[in-house]
């Protein structure tokens, strides 16, 4: 899939979309461009406006201003039942009085599809989600995972031009979630429908989406592939929101040839980054897993620090160390165990060295 977007292949576009509830701005001038066939995630904590944005796409909320353009047509004023968009609701909203079959056929009946054709289409959908044997069951007789598949089949039955997923995994337990994420992505990609999902779970967004928009307080802070958002966050909020991160305030003290030097209260970082004005206030973000830790001083000269281990947490597949540096700041470091050994060679209270590559720290100006 081509992820580099040129304006021409934008399939769904929101233009300076705003939603105000009385004096609260829930969605603030959101302009997004989504390509055909993409799985696009709106990621943010509760109250960030992601659900309101999704509901505007579905038609349940009327934008205060701005446009929603789907395939060249502004649909912002259309009621939900006239939009070629279907939604899979959080906790599914299956009709409890209808069977699985009737739930899936609900939308087809509304558009007046001939009976034979409808039979075929519902059968096709049941096969797609592998629920054909349960067609006559009522929703309450299904497991959570099965309900989710019915909801997916129901929202795909009308061949929507845009599929909306509202917290698709929220109602499933953790074990089931991981498997279902892949299943759902496979089905959505097999059908080839463009998809916008809302989630507060960054792992879910990372594994499922082709691109992610990180939202906070009604604004989109950053849009990018999961890798871009994780490795190259553009703001403190995004760096902090996605994954674990060590964040320090600092000042640019040198800048040349695509490298810059950031001086913090405990030392200086050498990082990638061009065009930084010397003296400007910035923040440095370092992911805990980009740092190496050892008791002996390593043969590196850049980005080398030392401190005392104040906490060690053992997570099975990796260890997390909290290292206290001179001056009181702490650094979080995770280290994966490639070999099996009893007890870590590094103990609490040990003096340790830790370092990272110049590509690891990210300099954030906002």
């Amino acid at each position: 899939m081509n992820l580099a977007l040129s304006p021409g292949d934008s399939y769904l576009r929101t233009e300076r979309l705003v939603k105000r509830f009385y004096d609260v701005v829930a969605v603030d001038e959101v302009s997004l461009s989504i390509a055909k066939g993409e799985i696009f995630a709106l990621l943010g904590s509760s109250g960030c406006g992601k659900s309101t944005l999704l509901r505007m796409l579905a038609g349940f909320e009327i934008p205060s201003s701005g446009a929603v353009v789907l395939d060249g047509v502004d649909i912002a004023a259309l009621p939900p039942y006239e939009r070629p968009i279907n939604m899979m609701f959080q906790s599914y909203a299956l009709f409890p009085h209808l069977t699985v079959w009737d739930n899936i056929a609900f939308g087809l009946k509304r558009q007046g599809m001939p009976k034979a054709q409808m039979q075929a289409r519902v059968g096709e959908m049941l096969d797609l989600v592998q629920l054909a044997p349960l067609a006559k069951r009522k929703p309450h007789q299904l497991s959570g995972g099965q309900q989710q598949r019915v909801a997916l089949a129901r929202s795909l039955a009308k061949k929507p031009r845009l599929l909306l997923l509202d917290e698709p995994m929220a109602a499933l337990d953790r074990k089931l979630r991981e498997r279902t994420q892949f299943e759902l992505v496979n089905i959505v990609e097999a059908v080839g429908v463009t998809c916008v999902m809302v989630t507060h779970d960054q792992e879910e967004a990372m594994t499922m989406a082709t691109r992610i928009a990180v939202m906070n307080q009604g604004r989109v802070l950053q849009v990018g592939t999961p890798r871009q958002v994780y490795e190259r966050p553009q703001s403190r909020f995004v760096a902090d929101f996605i994954g674990n991160v060590n964040l320090f305030d600092g000042k640019i003290t040198r800048s040349d040839a695509g490298r810059c030097e950031v001086t913090t209260s405990f030392g200086y970082f050498c990082a990638d980054g061009a065009g930084m004005a010397i003296g400007s206030e910035v923040a440095v973000a370092v992911r805990p897993e980009k740092l190496h830790i050892a008791k002996e001083q390593p043969p590196v000269s850049q980005n080398l620090f030392w401190g005392t281990v104040s906490e060690i947490a053992y997570f099975g597949s990796y260890n997390t160390y909290i290292v206290e540096m001179p001056g009181g700041k702490t650094m979080k470091i995770t280290e994966f165990d490639a070999v099996r050994h009893d007890g870590s060679p590094i103990g609490r209270g040990d003096k340790v060295f830790f370092w990272c590559d110049p590509s690891a720290p990210v300099v954030l100006s906002q």
């Binding site: 579905a58 349940f60 939900p80 039942y81 909203a93 009709f95 609900f106 939308g107």
Partner: protein, 310 residues
């Protein structure tokens, strides 16, 4: 396993269940049996209605069951054989009762449903106040409220005066002691019994189901018929039962507001009991009325139970 068996036999548990059963036995089953007993004696032969059912005075055991009372409900003894079947004042009264009960239920449903819907969709903070308004009439005596309607609907009553002064009518419209006053009174009295179960049902409904219906192409009206109404069916049935059943036997409203020509069964039972002093006849009329209501009810519950089990 052992634990759960013990739980089932725990005496406290049974005691709690026994209370409602005891209540039903003493205040429903026993009186009904007495009613049944009275209904199978014949007034004419001067037999004490409470005499033992089994007579052994002649040496042979003989059950003394007289079904004349039941027979006379369905057959007019004055009419010629055959033609008299089904054509009695009693059956007319049953028909009238069922008719009024049916239309009262229908009216209550038509008025009560939007009312309950509005209540259920109102902001949670104002709901208790609105519910209070529904129950407010219960604070005044039932009789007083029905009497008040007399004052409103009378020829010189409030409503006619108002319409006259507004110039909408030239002379008073006769409303009291007609079908109009009957239906107004019955609907007014029983409306809360329709609204409350409907409200209890509708307030539980998940609004997102309506959104899902919209999302799948159903307009507001379609979504209402295809989702809200089917999901509130148990509320509709409960409300309708609560209105229909007491309406069939209603005595006060027809006595105060009803016309002379449409006699309901409650009135007939009263007359047999206190005017004609024919207790067995009154008892048999009551038994038939109960059967009339119970049979469709039993069928409904069997159908509902079967559907749930499937």
């Amino acid at each position: 396993m052992k634990n759960s068996v013990w739980l089932l036999w725990r005496p406290g548990r049974r005691l709690v269940i026994a209370v409602p059963y005891l209540w039903l036995a003493v205040f429903f089953a026993l009186p009904f049996l007495i009613l049944l007993r009275i209904s199978v004696t014949d007034m004419g032969s001067g037999i004490d209605p409470f005499a033992p059912l089994v007579d052994s005075s002649t040496g042979a055991w003989r059950l003394r069951l007289e079904f004349d009372n039941y027979l006379s409900i369905f057959r007019d003894p004055a009419g010629s054989t055959g033609a008299g079947w089904g054509d009695t004042v009693y059956l007319d009264a049953y028909r009238t009762s069922l008719k009024y009960a049916f239309f009262t239920t229908l009216l209550c449903l038509l008025i009560g449903y939007p009312f309950a819907y509005f209540l259920a969709r109102a902001r949670p903070t104002v709901r208790p106040a609105l519910l209070m308004l529904v129950m407010l009439p219960f604070w005044t005596s039932f009789l007083l409220r029905v009497y008040a309607w007399k004052g409103i609907l009378a020829d010189q009553g409030v409503l006619n005066q108002l319409l006259l002064s507004l110039g909408l009518i030239r002379e008073p419209v006769v409303m009291l002691y007609t079908d109009v006053s009957m239906m107004v009174g019955m609907t007014y009295v029983y409306l809360p019994f329709m609204i409350l179960p409907l409200y209890a049902n509708l307030v539980k409904m998940d609004v997102r189901l309506l959104e899902a219906a919209h999302d799948l192409g159903a307009s507001a009206w379609k979504a209402f018929w295809l989702v809200t109404v089917p999901l509130s069916r148990s509320g509709i049935v409960a409300g309708s039962m609560l209105v229909f059943i007491p309406c069939v036997g209603e005595f006060v409203v027809p006595s105060l507001l009803g016309g002379a020509e449409n006699v309901m069964i409650g009135r007939v039972v009263w007359d047999e009991m206190f005017s004609a002093n024919n207790w067995p006849r009154a008892a048999s009329l009551s038994v038939v009325m109960i059967v009339l209501i119970l049979v469709p009810l039993a069928f409904y519950y069997r159908a509902a139970g079967a559907r749930k089990g499937a």
